[in-house]
């Protein structure tokens, strides 16, 4: 084939390009749900339980309903016939409580919806909500999952007195043998506390019923518009094609908007009943109380190893605090933890027992990392503890146990096939970055001067690119449509639903390079089920790793068609396509994509067996997950007087395969690290003994903010995955997963001369101070 006569365009993939979506976000001109104003719109406010557990004796709505401007008040009885909030997790023997849109005769957590009030504006609705009189008989509540499992604990759901929603067992390899052959066994209880996802934009939706068309439009702040459409249609008994779900600008989700919530169905139901558009916007306080929380693990680990550090087997008992109900995926989350238990290590055997526990708290579900951070935190802590036990350097112990490069694809004891990797590379790079050997010398020196300096590390692996469909509850493929408009401009419609990840930019880069069109000519559309073909959505670090390949294949299909038109226009059978031009090998003549688009839509003449237009749609099913990995190192100093932790350095080396846009990747890593450090140092959803959420707003719940962050030195190694043609693996959750164990590792290392081996999160000053006190004076102050 002859070389095309035009010069190759500069590639966009791999460039640090600023995000297309940012101007509208930082100038405040983006349209979020609460920006929508529809004629005749009413406002809904939900009346919520102030108790963790209570019987509803009566609900008196008379005063509220009589208020001027109030259009409707509904209580549990009014929605008793409607379908329940769906749970998509299927586990053998899973107990699924009936999760009605409004509480029936009992409330199960503080914030439980009891009634909904609709009025002409939100102030009246709020006043009326306060006028709804609910008479409760308060019952004993239980908020701690371990206490809930104890005999005699109050039953969250009276029909299941043991508070056990499910148990799950998984085993791989010969675990008995591993422990029998072990020279050492280390054990540790490790918790991963409840966290409040806290997106900048709380949940909210606007429902509009078009009675004549029997169709419903729901604008909602979600990560999964198509899934919401399917589930909502089912719940409300509507035809799926008459439900349109739009995710407008979505101000963050972190997993908490990967759900169908009672309020979305309730708002829709009210809109249908009242025939008015209804807006419901969650307040921050409601967000704390009623949007899913994350994590909530109490884990008991045992690791068996040889004297030389070879890890033989890992046992874990996981107690998962599920809260009072199941949201979409809640019970499935700890099973993801189980899959990730071996981490990056060759351990040939494992055994996990999970118990899912009901508590009088808001449900837990997917939160950035969803199950994998818990597991990584556990195994990374255990490797450190093993290193301490064997008096080995923690880096050396890791290097010794990593899956070796020649062993990929590597089957794990949990049944996964790790696609590819060079696990030592990021650790070595991180160690070089901090000058590890020198740093250890500095540490020895600092210790001589009484300073508590610590060097912590984590080497994490991740399951990304969810996922092959058989491994997911609702399909794990992704879709893309690429349209070349008559003018030559390119519209991409992706089934993923970006809400901060920057795919409008990265998908434009992919399209620009693979289709050979100017970056500015590409428009990426998403989030509207009336515009975009069915898609799965954005979660589990899947958007670029599954949605990206779908786009890539759609482009390849389109190129076939482009070439047909090119061949027709160039009157040749031997044409190539590159850089937006079809070129005839023989004559060297070429036609531009713009000319081809013109011809394809004008359709004066068509190539044989070819229809007009230039559109291609591709649904891509991945063959495997991808398994990114990386190494984080944190250096910290602890103030013995106050227990305060000062982060001196933070290095994050991630391997997520090829980088489409390193700027966007860095942003994902930075945000992820912030959330991981948030868990390690500050964040904690605290329910008291009566199941009151006492960390109920940002004055108590410490969301990490920019000024609290260390400078993050981020870098990469690149090991492209063979799972998809772009070689990308996903990076949305990496930072979170790597950060919490690195942080705890650093602080434990700082305190290790005192004999400290583990600290549970969050590592608050008082906790550290007490630990130091107990180790230095033996007192348990």
């Amino acid at each position: 084939m002859a070389t095309p006569s035009i010069t190759k365009l500069e590639p966009f993939i791999g460039k640090r390009i600023r995000r297309k979506e940012d101007p509208r976000l930082i100038t405040g001109t983006a349209t979020y749900v609460d920006d929508l104003q529809l004629p005749g719109m009413h406002f809904a406010v939900v009346v919520r339980s102030p108790h963790g557990a209570a019987r509803i004796k009566s609900v008196d709505i008379a005063a509220a309903a009589a208020m001027k401007g109030v259009a409707m008040v509904l209580t549990g009885r009014d929605v008793a016939d409607l379908a329940c909030v769906p749970c998509g997790a299927s586990l053998p023997g899973l107990r699924v409580p009936e999760h009605r849109l409004l509480a029936q005769d009992r409330v199960y957590y503080v914030g439980h919806p009891v009634a909904v009030v609709v009025a002409t504006d939100r102030y009246i609705a709020k006043d009326a909500a306060e006028a709804v009189e609910v008479d409760y008989e308060v019952l004993q509540a239980v908020a701690d999952p371990e206490k809930a499992l104890a005999p005699g604990a109050p039953a969250v759901h009276p029909q299941w007195p043991d508070n056990t929603a499910f148990t799950f067992h998984q085993e791989g390899g010969d675990i008995e043998k591993a422990f029998a052959e072990a020279d050492v066994v280390v054990k540790q209880r490790i918790t991963s506390q409840r966290l409040i996802p806290s997106p900048l934009e709380t949940r909210g939706c606007v429902a509009q019923w078009h009675a004549a068309e029997k169709s419903l439009t729901l604008h909602t702040s979600t990560q999964v518009p198509h899934l919401v459409r399917s589930l909502l249609a089912q719940m409300l008994g509507l035809d799926e094609n008459r439900v349109r779900v739009v995710a407008p600008e979505v101000g963050g989700g972190f997993g908490c908007k990967l759900n169908l919530y009672a309020e979305e169905a309730l708002t829709s139901h009210v809109a249908m009943k009242l025939g008015k558009p209804i807006k419901w916007i969650e307040s921050r306080r409601e967000n704390f109380l009623t949007t899913i929380h994350g994590r909530g693990h109490v884990d008991y680990y045992e690791v068996a190893a040889k004297k030389d550090g070879t890890i033989l087997g890992i046992k874990v008992k996981i107690i998962q605090d599920l809260g009072s109900y199941h949201q979409l995926l809640g019970p499935a989350i700890p099973t993801l933890s189980v899959l990730m238990i071996p981490g990056l290590y060759r351990a040939k055997s494992m055994c996990a027992d999970v118990v899912g526990v009901f508590t009088n708290c808001v449900p837990t579900d997917a939160y950035r990392g969803a199950g994998r951070p818990e597991a990584t935190h556990g195994i990374e802590r255990m490797v450190d503890i093993l290193a301490a036990e064997l008096k080995m350097d923690p880096a050396e112990l890791r290097l010794k146990n990593f899956v070796r490069n020649e062993e990929f694809p590597f089957p794990t004891a949990t049944g996964l096939i790790y696609d590819t990797g060079d696990y030592a590379a990021p650790l070595r790079k991180a160690m070089e970055t901090v000058n590890y050997t020198e740093l250890r010398k500095q540490q020895a020196d600092a210790r001589k001067h009484g300073k508590l300096m610590g060097i912590g590390m984590s080497t994490y692996g991740e399951i990304c690119a969810f996922g092959p469909s058989p491994a997911t509850p609702a399909g794990g493929w992704e879709s893309a449509t690429v349209k070349i408009e008559p003018s030559g401009k390119v519209t991409v419609m992706t089934g993923v639903s970006p809400h901060g990840q920057g795919e409008e930019t990265t998908f434009s880069q992919i399209t620009a390079d693979h289709l050979g069109v100017p970056f500015e000519d590409v428009l990426v559309q998403h989030g509207d089920t009336a515009i975009v073909q069915y898609g799965i959505g954005t979660f589990g670090s899947r958007a670029t790793a599954v949605g990206g390949p779908a786009l890539y294949y759609a482009i390849q299909e389109l190129i076939i068609k482009i070439k047909k038109f090119g061949a027709m226009l160039l009157e040749s059978d031997d044409v190539s396509y590159a850089n937006g031009q079809c070129t005839c090998a023989k004559t060297g003549k070429s036609v531009s994509i713009k000319e081809i688009a013109g011809a394809a839509y004008r359709a004066m003449k068509l190539p044989a067996n070819t229809e007009p237009g230039l559109v291609a749609t591709y649904f891509w099913e991945p063959t495997n997950f991808t398994f990114p990995f990386g190494a984080h190192i944190m250096v910290a100093e602890v103030d013995p007087g106050t227990g305060a932790i000062d982060i001196k350095r933070y290095v994050a080396i991630d391997d997520c395969g090829n980088l489409i846009n390193p700027l966007v990747v860095d942003g994902q890593v930075h945000g992820g690290v912030a959330q991981g450090l948030g868990q390690a140092l500050w964040e904690q959803a605290v329910y008291d003994d009566n199941a009151q959420l006492v960390s109920g707003e940002f004055m108590d719940y410490t969301m990490p903010r920019a000024h609290m962050m260390p400078w993050i030195e981020s870098g990469h190694t690149i090991t492209p995955t063979p799972v998809n043609p772009l070689g990308v693996k996903g990076v949305g959750e990496a930072g979170t997963i790597g950060a919490s164990p690195a942080a705890v590792s650093a602080v434990v290392d700082a305190l290790s001369p005192l004999g400290v081996r583990h600290i549970d999160m969050p590592m608050t000053p008082e906790k550290i101070w007490r630990l130091i006190l107990s180790k230095t004076t033996g007192s348990n102050a």
Partner: protein, 280 residues
């Protein structure tokens, strides 16, 4: 996060404001404490009287050895005022520790002292500075010492109908060294414990020691025992160790009473040491 209905007025003169407040109006200054309470419906005043437009309440003025600060002067204005930085650096330093930039841009000194949050920063400095608070009502005017002003948790010497109009702090003698040190609650920024120290030395000896403590207990207070120990020649750490003596320390989710008492001693020592370094 939706307040109840209320009437809002924004008078231009102090007299007008005082009349409205005498009539039951609730003063609004920076709104950093009041507005969140209203949004949560924990506060539901019928009428809010905004002090922000009253020009005669916003000033920083040096006068006869004192600095007079109008009630609606923001934390940022205090923090960045050349006069305060040069002549009463403890107050500027304390202001710089309050919350975050947004809070400092809106929150005011009058609002902060009137609110009397037991963890607020200013009160520690105002105690150490032996500041005076000027209080006015529609028909009254009085000046009270900081020590008399801060009565208890959220409780001050203000009577209904009265507002804080001015805070008066001394111009420091050149030989004075001061420092404010705090451990903050990372979520809110409020002090778990904050200590303001003010030290004068002469001939190598501490001749004046003022130590104000906030966050520890129901109100900001002056640590008399520590002050006495310092002026009678006790070593800094030993003097700091008695800072929480006989104090009933608060506890919350973030810090127990015991930890707070311990921190008070640590931060007292740090603040005193830093203040001593700054003398001369």
């Amino acid at each position: 996060m939706i307040p109840q209905q209320f009437e809002y007025s924004a008078p231009k003169s102090l007299a007008e404001a005082l009349a409205l407040i005498a009539d039951g109006g609730k003063p609004l200054s920076g709104g950093m404490s009041l507005i969140p309470m209203m949004k949560l419906r924990l506060a539901a005043p019928d009428r809010v009287v905004d002090l922000a437009r009253i020009a005669e309440l916003s000033y920083i003025r040096e006068q006869a050895g004192s600095i007079h600060i109008g009630a609606t002067t923001t934390h940022h204005e205090v923090e960045s005022s050349a006069v305060i930085r040069a002549k009463c650096p403890l107050l500027a330093e304390t202001a710089s520790f309050i919350g975050d930039v947004q809070v400092r841009n809106l929150g005011t000194i009058g609002g902060s002292v009137a609110h009397a949050d037991p963890s607020a920063d200013y009160p520690a400095a105002l105690q150490a500075l032996e500041a005076k608070i000027v209080i006015k009502g529609a028909a009254s005017e009085r000046t009270v010492s900081a020590d008399d002003f801060f009565v208890d948790t959220f409780t001050t010497a203000l009577e209904p109908g009265e507002i804080v109009t001015e805070v008066i702090v001394p111009v420091e003698a050149a030989s004075t060294g001061t420092s404010y040190q705090k451990l903050l609650q990372p979520a809110s920024g409020f002090a778990i414990v904050g200590v303001a120290a003010r030290i004068q030395k002469s001939g190598g000896k501490i001749t004046l020691a003022r130590v104000g403590v906030t966050g520890l207990s129901n109100r900001a207070f002056r640590a008399a025992a520590t002050e006495q120990a310092l002026t009678s020649g006790t070593a800094v750490q030993a003097a700091a160790d008695v800072v929480a003596q006989a104090i009933d320390a608060n506890s919350d989710l973030y810090a127990s009473a015991e930890f707070r008492a311990h921190l008070a001693a640590v931060y007292a020592a740090r603040a005193i040491d830093a203040a001593i370094r700054r003398t001369s």
